[in-house]
């Protein structure tokens, strides 16, 4: 499984003071950028592509990989504190992270997020290090029928989302529909109302920021402060030592839930391996899995630490999967991985089977550098939390306009168009109405993410197997995935029927 000679050569490549310095700079830069709404890991890496040309190939790739690792973590920070996912992969972190912040436990939950990110990176890269080649060969067998099933599995989560089944499915289905807006299979734009900015579909970043952050502003405008507990009652108000104690208690909570961590890490890396599946699907599936397998899931969605552990671990673990696909096959596992791929090419390295065959020491050095990155992130993260967590005590009369101005500049800077802030506001308004009428926002976001994917995978599958549908069922992986989808749907239906019967019995009593 591990080639020892190449492994030792990789270790040698890694240990130089310049590489360590670039890891530190990359982590600091990535955490700050990732925490700014609208600046994704992809943009953060892209901005450093040109400066990285002045570094040696190994230093450049390790530096950019450090940015990737820490930007993913940074996105979870704003998701927790402001309910603004810094990246789509941090959406699931808002479910329990933000309620914990409102209870005055921002340091605690940020500590959980930090250790979960750390463990997510560690677990996923151990898996990749040991199993890269066989995993990669397995992924290559995934064609459009299998990808269609993976998308359907992710869609099935909509039924498991809390709240009324019909409302959840209705929101999810509407999300699916608007997720197909843009250029269709024939290239003609649909549902764009003449706006060329919608040609590629409703952009995910402003949509997520609008549905989560802007809609939240409409709620908190009626309050005086974000945190319901009075600041003077919280331990952290009594000095930096107690402040740090809260962060470390969060870290301890994450370690206590190591089983959730390990499961989420594996889910994250496996889904991250699938090109275009993305960290958002990984974190949502992991969250759903953690909730369903918990003995007592009553606090999920209201501030259960396990929800934060599951989503943040999977979010960071999916990065390893995306990296493995990029290194082993030259196929980027996601947007940020695509930018990393261009960095490889810029420095004269061609990821793919030949890199794995001829320069396995380089591959090992890159994979091992992520372990170092995880440790540096832990230290940088604690310092970062110490300062950023205080923001929740800022009065809302300052925080609300500041958040909206940052939302506008963050969404505007994605493509330099006012269309994106407008989309964020419109969807924010829709999100407000949905939440007032008790529709789960996550369902519409899931539908939005998966709408485009489900249509394109179905289209490819139809073109491949039209008139010959029985051939699809000869694909063994497809068969297994179909069984999984049916099992999930059956389980969801039985669960919802039981829940409504229990609710009726309570009402009668």
């Amino acid at each position: 499984m591990i080639q020892i000679d190449s492994f030792l050569d990789g270790v040698n490549l890694l240990f130089s003071w310049r590489v360590m310095l670039f890891i530190l700079i990359g982590i600091i830069y990535g955490v700050i950028m990732g925490a700014i709404p609208g600046i994704s890991a992809t943009l953060a890496i892209g901005l450093m592509l040109a400066p990285s040309a002045f570094m040696s190939p190994m230093e450049a790739i390790i530096f950019l990989s450090s940015v990737y690792t820490s930007a993913v973590y940074g996105g979870g920070v704003t998701a927790t504190i402001f309910n603004i996912p810094g990246a789509p992969g941090a959406v699931a972190t808002t479910f329990d992270g933000y309620p914990l912040t409102k209870q005055g436990k921002s340091n605690y939950v940020l500590g959980i997020g930090l250790i979960s990110s750390f463990l997510g990176v560690l677990i996923s890269y151990v898996v990749i290090l040991l199993f890269m080649q066989p995993l990669g060969l397995f992924v290559l067998k995934f064609g459009p029928p299998e990808m269609m099933m993976v998308v359907l599995i992710a869609l099935s989560i909509i039924g498991l989302v809390d709240g009324k089944f019909v409302k959840s499915m209705l929101a999810g289905t509407f999300g699916l529909l608007i997720g197909t807006i843009g250029a269709g299979p024939l290239g003609a734009p649909r549902g764009t109302f003449g706006f060329h900015q919608l040609y590629d579909g409703i952009p995910l970043a402003p949509a997520v920021i609008g549905l989560f952050a802007v809609s939240e502003l409409f709620f908190i405008i009626k309050q005086k402060s974000l945190v319901t507990s009075a600041p003077q009652d919280l331990p952290s108000s009594k000095g930096p030592v107690l402040f740090l104690k809260e962060i470390f208690s969060g870290i301890k909570e994450g370690l206590v839930n190591y089983v959730v961590c390990i499961k989420s890490g594996i889910i994250g890396v496996l889904i991250g391996l699938l090109p275009a599946a993305g960290s958002s699907i990984a974190s949502l599936i992991s969250y759903s899995q953690a909730k369903e397998s918990a003995k007592d899931s009553s606090m999920f969605g209201k501030g259960d630490p396990r929800g934060v552990v599951a989503s943040e671990t999977a979010n960071n673990a999916s990065e390893a999967g995306a990296m493995a696909t990029t290194l082993a096959f030259g196929i980027p596992g996601g947007g940020a991985a695509a930018v990393l791929l261009s960095a490889f090419l810029m420095h004269g390295m061609i990821p793919g089977p030949y890199l794995v065959r001829d320069s396995m020491d380089v591959v090992y050095a890159l994979l091992l550098s992520n372990f170092l990155q995880a440790f540096v992130l832990l230290i940088v993260g604690v310092v970062f939390i110490y300062y950023i967590a205080r923001v929740v005590y800022v009065p809302l009369r300052i925080l609300i306009p500041a958040i909206f101005v940052m939302t506008v500049i963050g969404t505007y800077s994605i493509i330099g168009s006012m269309a994106y802030p407008i989309i964020a506001l419109v969807l924010g308004l829709l999100g407000y109405f949905l939440r007032k009428l008790e529709y789960p926002i996550v369902s519409i976001v899931l539908g939005l993410i998966l709408g485009g994917m489900v249509e394109s995978e179905f289209f490819k599958m139809y073109r491949m197997y039209s008139g010959n549908w029985e051939e699809v069922f000869t694909r063994p992986i497809f068969g297994v995935l179909v069984a999984c989808v049916l099992a999930i749907w059956l389980y969801t239906l039985i669960k919802k029927v039981k829940e409504s019967k229990r609710h009726e019995r309570k009402f009668v009593n």
């Binding site: 209705l170 269709g184 649909r190 330099g416 006012m418 289209f459």
Partner: protein
């Protein structure tokens, strides 16, 4: 009010869905070009029907009052108007001036009376935005007629 609101929202979903579906059908020449949209729209329509039946039954049974609690929604409505005006004026006044006016207006409206809060904070914040987005990231932010 919740059931009425739900009916309105569901009708919006179906109305928009129908409009979009007809547009897709008009472009599609073969089954596979519109198949997935058809499945999604049919699912949406079925779910909408189930939801509407439930809401109408609840409305008849509970005799829900038709009033709308404007008072509790006053702040969100005012905030929405402010946000809309802010976005409208960015191309006219420029990002920095509009953001400053927006920030000061909202802070004062929400009760800020200290000049450090409603003046100094936005100046510092917009300064950081300028350094980060324009100087470091090289972004070109809409400038309007003035700034």
């Amino acid at each position: 009010m919740k059931h009425i609101g739900n009916v309105v929202l569901v009708l919006f979903f179906v109305g928009y869905g129908a409009f979009y579906y007809l547009e897709v059908l008009s472009q599609a020449s073969r089954f596979e070009h519109h198949a997935m949209i058809t499945f999604i729209f049919v699912a949406l329509a079925i779910l909408a029907l189930i939801s509407l039946v439930g809401d109408v039954r609840a409305l008849i049974k509970n005799k829900e009052p038709m009033g709308f609690a404007w008072v509790s929604e006053k702040k969100p409505i005012v905030f929405l108007v402010a946000m809309t005006l802010y976005l409208v004026f960015i191309p006219v006044l420029g990002f920095f001036l509009s953001s400053f006016i927006f920030f000061v207006s909202i802070a004062v409206w929400m009760g800020s009376r200290k000049w450090k809060e409603y003046f100094l904070v936005p100046v510092v914040m917009l300064g950081v935005v300028y350094v980060l987005f324009i100087v470091l990231l090289g972004q070109r932010i809409t400038s309007g007629f003035i700034v």
